[in-house]
Subunit: 329 residues, 2 copies
Amino acid sequence: MTEIARLTGVSQPTVSRVLNGNQAVNPEIRERVLACAREHNFQPNVIARSLAGSKTMLLGLVFTDISNSFFADLEKLLEQEAKKSGYSVIVFNSDYDWNREKECLDVIRRYRVDGLVIVPVEENSEKFRSQMESLDIPAVALTRKTEHMDCVYVDHVEAGGQVGRHLYTQGCDSYVFVGTEKDGKYEGFTEALREMVPDLETRLIRIETKNPGEIRRTLRRHFEGCSGKTGIFAYNDRRAVQIHGILQGLGIEVPGRACLVGFDNTYICDYLYPGLSSVAQSNEEMAAKAVSRLLWKIEHPEDTEIIKEPIRARLIARQSSAAVEEDKS
Amino acid sequence: MTEIARLTGVSQPTVSRVLNGNQAVNPEIRERVLACAREHNFQPNVIARSLAGSKTMLLGLVFTDISNSFFADLEKLLEQEAKKSGYSVIVFNSDYDWNREKECLDVIRRYRVDGLVIVPVEENSEKFRSQMESLDIPAVALTRKTEHMDCVYVDHVEAGGQVGRHLYTQGCDSYVFVGTEKDGKYEGFTEALREMVPDLETRLIRIETKNPGEIRRTLRRHFEGCSGKTGIFAYNDRRAVQIHGILQGLGIEVPGRACLVGFDNTYICDYLYPGLSSVAQSNEEMAAKAVSRLLWKIEHPEDTEIIKEPIRARLIARQSSAAVEEDKS
DNA sequence: TTGTAGGCGTTATCAC
DNA sequence: GTGATAACGCCTACAA
């Protein structure tokens, strides 16, 4: 910048004014400066600007595991949204590990980012709460419902309910949930079913293990012991694909004997045969809401209100949970 | 920092020395300062440090599309590697678009990152070359073989050869390549096959479209017209899964009538039924080599040598390309 | 409209 | 060993 000032024979602040479009500058000088800047492909030093201005134009992004394509997709969208307002993102992975998460937050503090979007490892632990408080940076939790800070998340309970009603409607009379008990999807799933299936307890099993052999044995036992149609709900598509493969190996027809529903609605749903029903979360919406809320907080630090923004998911039904066998024309 | 100096009754530069472990400081003062820093959970302002020191401890990462899980995986590994040396990463997506790539590079320049890892949109175009030159930052190209700059990439030609030989060995007598002609995998695949199959031209088709209907028709026609075993090689797992689904829909047994091989060896390979053979690129190795090379260049700016680092992939054979039908016990 | 002066939070280079 | 002092590149007054 000083260099440009020297070359154009004006003072450095004048160059600054021109480049920032501030105030009024002599049109002639403006042109001269702009030309020179273009010629040298001048890019202002954001670091210096940050130091002087106190805004870094950086957003910190902390994921649990960006190699999970669901988060990868979010990162892309968040970056896009941030870019619209001139922000760049600095990205971290906590690997579902508290200590790493803390390390990430420390580094984030060192960089004096203007805001933070985080997928917490343990969203409602006291540890996390106090860490976020001591951080004291505008922040939004993504994907998880938090009590003590702003959050944008998909309503898993409601989504689980959708899946429960769907599978019931497809004529299923026994059910399998693949995932953990603590999952909101499980809660919503079972709640919805209980309304229609009085003796649900005897008709529902839950599979938590990831061990293929164990899953295989459990499913075989299940299907040997019942003749009706079974509705299977897996907590994500990855899991659903695994179940799908195991069912094929066991010779259980989908959707003939088992209706299968996944979660995340990833590309694989269309590629699998039969097409995998899945619950679509609108990542675009989540990313947009998270960033816009964050920017608002950055610009209005006085506003300490905590906003919880649940986003409704929607079930995309495909052949894997169709009531009738599709024709293969 | 000044604050800590005030609280501990020493000068600010002294605090700096303590915190950086520089030089010799009075042990007593050292302890006092460290204690105070810990108490206030002091994190040095990297921005200011960058301005003064001229190192930002930032690496720029430019991907074509991080929502592709292959790149997402790389991002995670790159970040891990960078972190080992105290670097953080600032992440961009070019979306396979020249202009966006240029925008990313501009922003990267503004942040005065110490180094850059980039997956180029068009690795050997003149445009890209000149952009990288004018950037004038230590940089390494990832995934693509570049002539004018350092690169770390998987040897696709060699990998394609492995697949060709494998499918031939499995007893295939006709072949399908799914992907573009310009792909190194195609080159290696056909070269290897040509050595063993004299009339390859009549036994090989290539599918480039992503349209499921078109693919389906092409494959149906192919299998109606030949009775032997067909080897199918898809340029990535995503594509392979699609083909896999279409084959199932057509009632073509895998690996009975068709042997299928994908590329990237993603999680899905184990989950699919039958398990999908695939080529594993060592992302760990790529990430580690890219970062270590980059750090070396950062520390030795005088070294202008260009190093090309091809990495060998390896074929992971699973049931989808097994010579014999597996037993379903 | 433009230039001068001071400061952002560090590091580095001096004297003391 | 330690404390002044001058950068680093920019922004924001304020003065001209």
